[in-house]
Amino acid sequence: MKPKIRVEGVYKIFGEDPQGALDALNAGKSKIEIFEETGQTVGVQDVSFEVGEGEIFVVMGLSGSGKSTLVRTFNGLIPPTSGKILIDDDDVASCSAERLRKIRREKITMVFQHFALFPHKTVAENVAYGLKIKGESAASRRKKALAALEQVGLAAYADSLPGELSGGMQQRVGLARGLATDPQILLMDEPFGALDPLIRREMQDELLHLQKILKKTIIFITHDLNEALLLGDKIAIMKDGRFVQVGTAQEIVDNPADDYVAAFVADIDRGRVFEAGHVVTDPVTVEQNEKGAAEKALQLMEEHNRNALYVLDNKKVAGLVTYQELSVAAREEGRTDLTEVMVTDVPVVDQDTPLNELYGAASAGHPIAVTDKRGRLTGVIEVEAVFSQLSGDASEDETGEEGSTPPAEEKTETAQGGTPR
């Protein structure tokens, strides 16, 4: 698929002599050395990446790493010193002012860290700003603004002034303003940075929820790795104006490119990054109506070194038997009907349930059944596997299992189903 945004070799140097700084960069000097020697600030250096349509691309980095500078080059608020920024087929870095204005009006909008709402305009007027600039009639502006406010749950506040709203509500207005012109691309520069953790969490969920419906291409800036991992289909870690690693949440957490990334990853909430699908193993099962099912089940458990096993009824999960109970019943008492000793109250989850939601299911100590949309068993999760993945030392065979699922599919699942609602 053709990427929506393609960024090629973007550099941004702040100062009088960008060429000198570029030469110094090519000679291998660091950002600090260049600043000390020439007084030029390297904002962004050699950034290239692509974002597909409908993807959330997160740029994560510490303060001063150049995130804001980078994202502002995408809508031309900051012209890059060199490089290309292709949105569809237009190069934002080199197109005419007229063309740039058209792109801003029609394709790309921005949500700001400190909301940047116009204090003299009502909430609805703020949301309608982009439409007014495009020259839409007052009636259609109002209608679209109300629809956008409806999406973020603030339609009742249409005629308030932004100053009368709380921070979280103001940022919802900012989001509605970004969405009102129905752009294809949304740039979000630390949009939740100014909000307290609870509201922030709520807004993240809301964004994911909206994204499921709207399917915008989003560039999202944050300095919070947990937020990055939660939201991003792809994540870039930025340091000193450069991308040090680009990948999916799982790739970054599993294989940090260097010590810098590893230090970040060290204390993230792995339970939110990894999903049931990551720790699943192939199921070992018996059909409950099979002949000699009990003996077969015992043999299978011995063979695979398991102490519990799922029983299916026509490929659907019927229940679970433990080795202990089944061996007593079948081998000592001669009762071979599986349904008599079967536990039917078993934990069942989806492939894309985050690990931190498996604690409850795991508490019974039984392996957890993973089913597909039609309720068929696709795998089981051993309780130990959950905890070893969470603690970061997943054993080889589990990662092996995980590798067998196609990564592309995994990625989309993260984006669309990875959040608890």
Binding site: M110, Y129, A156, G163, S166, M169, L187
Partner: protein, 310 residues
């Protein structure tokens, strides 16, 4: 003692004399005369109107305006002050002065606001304009009265021109300041949605700078009022003339009444324009809005909860 003047003497006064007398006046007099035309036109309109308006109608009207903009106290003060001015026999002079002031302020706004916008948008323009404003504000007004008389003659309109020169700087400075002080992220937001420069000016910069611009207008108005006596020196009438003739004839009574008239007019105009700036000011919700939010505080809470998505 030796002094530099023993060696070189600069006849600066002669130079200026010959520049004005032999160059400016003969060559540009018609141009300067033409400049008076719009001022004369506006002044005539305003002056005729205020002299035609019956005293009572004017008083009631201004009192109502003061009540709407600045509140009960200022309204009451205006009412009493205007009646007092009428009683001390200075009504006609006051109207003349008012027309003169309003004409000056009108032209200050027409020249000053666009110039202020221009200086706000270009650092280079600011670099040129700022020293000129500094000179305008430091040079004693008596200095430019002479060339003004030579170029424009004497009378009301030359008086207004002197007033404009004197009162123009604050409106330019504060328009510039107001626009430059609009928060950078708001400018960025306006730009990010594809605003043209005009849209940015009209939708964001001017409304947000309005409070500062109004403060500039208020200062300009006050400066214009402080020029009325000086303008009387070159033939402008009104309260300034009352003071000036009182001074010339050592008539303390006339000078005092004229002075009181000016002060009362100044207070009324100051209060009203100041409150205009406050009222129009953004960020602060209007009285009506704060009252409404006060009474519907509990309702707003409920709204805030239902506003969150389920």
């Amino acid at each position: 003692m030796i002094s530099p003047a023993d060696f070189v003497q600069i006849p600066l006064d002669d130079w200026v004399n010959s520049f004005v007398r032999d160059f400016l006046v003969p060559n540009f007099r018609p141009a300067f005369r033409a400049m008076q035309v719009p001022i004369t036109k506006v002044l005539e309109q305003i002056d005729t109107f205020f002299h035609w308006l019956p005293m009572l109608v004017f008083t009631v009207g201004l009192t109502l305006i003061a009540d709407r903009t600045a509140g009960r106290g200022v309204a009451l003060f205006s009412l009493v002050a205007l009646i007092f001015i009428d009683m001390i026999g200075l009504w006609a002079e006051t109207m003349t002065t008012l027309s003169m002031i309003l004409t000056s302020v009108f032209f200050c706004a027409v020249i000053g606001i666009p110039l202020g916008i221009w200086t706000a948008r270009s650092d280079r323009v600011l670099l040129v304009v700022r020293p000129i404003l500094d000179i305008m504000q430091t040079i004693p007004s008596f200095v430019y009265l002479v060339p003004i008389v030579m170029l424009f003659g004497v009378g009301m309109v030359p008086g207004i021109i002197a007033t404009i020169i004197f009162a123009l700087p604050p409106i330019i400075r504060l328009t510039n300041l107001g626009i430059r002080n609009v928060r950078g992220d708001l400018i960025e937001a306006a730009e990010a949605f594809g605003s043209t420069r005009w849209q940015m000016l009209w939708e964001v910069q001017l409304p947000l700078a309005l409070r500062t611009i109004m403060a500039g207008l208020n200062q300009t108005l006050m400066l214009a009022l402080s020029m009325v006596v000086i303008a009387a020196l070159i033939g402008a009438g009104g309260l300034g003339l009352t003071v000036y003739t009182g001074l010339g004839r050592l008539n303390v009574g006339a000078a005092t009444t004229g002075g009181i008239g000016i002060v009362l007019l100044a207070i009324i105009l100051d209060r009203i324009t100041q409150s205009l700036g406050d009222k129009k000011g953004v960020q602060t919700p209007s009285l009506w809005q704060s009252l409404r939010s006060l009474f519907s505080a509990s309702k707003a809470d409920v709204g805030a909860q239902s506003g969150k998505p389920a």
